[in-house]
Symmetry: D2
Subunit: 211 residues, 4 copies
């Protein structure tokens, strides 16, 4: 939860996703970044990391998890600064060499990722920069960016009244977080002629379909 | 419909949107670009426009319409070339000066626009370029980009089996095409504290909420 | 300067831009965000703004300025969290109603903006999200986003050895910051047939040229 | 050259790049897509490919080349439809199975790519969708997207008067097309602490630097 508001609209999306995860028997925890992060990545040659609970959040919650849903309000067409700091601060744990940075980098890869954003405006272009950012992070870390939900709201909780039903979409994303098909191909990726496999045939690798 | 396939996945999204429009009593026509467009915008000083039915499509269908849903397969991370040519070729009708270009430009503005794309891959970043393009077009022409649907499929029609239910989303988009709230603010835009208005209060303009 | 490093590569870009500004007789000040910003935008109903010098930075430096060049390292495909916090925190000064928020909002508009980013990687797609974000901010505030420079470097200062010569580009941007032509049209924008005007003809409004 | 105009601004950028390639002793050919491509990718089950010279362009020029610079005007915030068709039509040559599609796919990979665009407007966000598209194509085909040049102009050739000097940048890109450092990392990519290597140390792989 990258919003400073506990009862805001991005928090409502996160809560809905957790309901979905619960329904699917997935263990999910809702954490507010503001409880763990109080400052920015400093120049580590001149200063230490801020005296907050980031290490606990990153090492004990994020790294062991199989996936993470990033929930953030859209502030000025980007994720909130606290959400951004969550990413920036990870540097202190994987920088340098040795077994610990190696362990951290290994644990940063292969997760499932999702993104839920809330904004006052409804236009689809508002979140392009954030989607791009999470997609690039997913590629860099060999993670699967399995779902994206955008809801609109300003007053606390009114995302529930968005007729595009983002709460429902968030709940569905939570439910299917670890079962959704994900694909991001390269030219040589073996693939089936059918994206959604039914009974058979799925293994017939047929490159040569339009990406 | 910007797909060369009559029974492809982007066509299925378009068909679903039309069902939604029908249900809402909205008059909607499904047109395949391939029936109207056979070539590219040429250098008009050296050659005339291709001898095809683009003028009919643009002048008799697009310009009089109150809105348009653009349906296209994602080919190489962009809209199909025929879909792109639909935009490029409009130049022949608004270029120059005089009452006809002026009429055309006036009729190009103020529409409602939607985008439905189908791709083989599921990753959310695949369509960023297309969404950006339609958003910019919407701004340039003072149009409202009211909805975006992304479904995955490769074999004809299998978008119906995408568990994210894009056909349902397309149908909903068709139904609400002319009633959805749309917002894309500037700093001075008067706005309500609530995005989704209920009974009262909606007129209280309160700038100073985060964009 | 959104980098925690005083002698880093984005700082070098900012320094080069200042040299350019100096050469053009433009008064420019280099400010490090880390000297002014220590925390995030909180939920203002539950907590006050962090006890730092943000108000001084925003009210005494940013608001009176005619333009701002945002310099940031690319961290995880976005601007640094401190740079993002610069934008987020502005909310505390324009929120609500009354003459002060109105004055702030009025002073936020109409500036010239630039962006200089440094990254370890060279691929052009790395900064797409940041460019999008600054472009949207520019539109929302009716500002002119007059230039963008991307340099590569990792070790402190080695951006100077990037063969694409970003320091030169940054210096040029600083020099021309307030004289560069800027355009971001809408369909009705009157325009000349020539983008770069020489002596005459510039006023001949000829809509109907391809955007 | 994706512009219908032989003497247009994107053509001028391409010509400048060729001068640079010549200066570096690189064999480069300028080809106008309009000479080779007359139509769109059809539904290959219902119709054959257009009767034009695309096969010659793709098989005899593009596939054997070590790199390609894509030059296109920005039409409606995307590449021209003829440029897009260049990509779409490749499907006819790699679709299906057998030695020929395999040979084609193998030859599509590992090239160096560049992008030069010309637009009437100067705002940096105009080309975001095209840059994204080429970057994704580069990744899918394991190609190196080594450079991007954006110039502004409307009247034929006036890009030469753009004070940002895009012709110079295009010439430089042509000169360095096959020598520029290119990087697009994943978390495990071995890397040096210095991006721009001088004499020594380059082999010291130090993961743990911020991406």
């Amino acid at each position: 939860m990258g919003s400073p508001r506990r009862d805001g609209n991005s928090a409502a999306l996160g809560e809905a996703a957790r309901r979905g995860a619960d329904a699917a028997g997935t263990l999910a925890t809702l954490l507010f970044l503001d409880d763990y992060i109080q400052g920015f990545l400093p120049d580590l040659r001149r200063a230490g990391a801020p005296a907050d609970r980031y290490a606990e959040l990153f090492l004990e919650h994020f790294l062991p998890a199989d996936g993470a849903l990033i929930c953030t309000p859209i502030y000025w067409y980007g994720m909130s600064a606290q959400t951004k700091a969550f990413f920036d601060r990870s540097f202190t744990h994987y920088a340098g060499s040795g077994p610990e940075p190696e362990r951290v980098m290994a644990r940063m890869t292969g997760k499932r990722l999702g993104l839920a954003v809330a904004s006052e405006e409804t236009y689809p272009g508002a979140a392009l920069g954030i989607v791009h950012q999470v997609q690039e992070y997913a590629r860099y870390t060999h993670s699967d960016f399995v779902g994206y939900v955008h809801g609109a709201g300003n007053r606390r909780g009114e995302v529930a009244r968005d007729p595009r039903r983002p709460l429902e979409a968030a709940e569905q994303l939570g439910r299917e977080f670890f079962t959704r098909t994900y694909s991001d191909y390269r030219i040589e990726t073996p693939r089936s002629r059918t994206v959604w496999e039914s009974e058979a045939s799925a293994l017939a690798s047929t490159p040569g379909v339009l990406p």
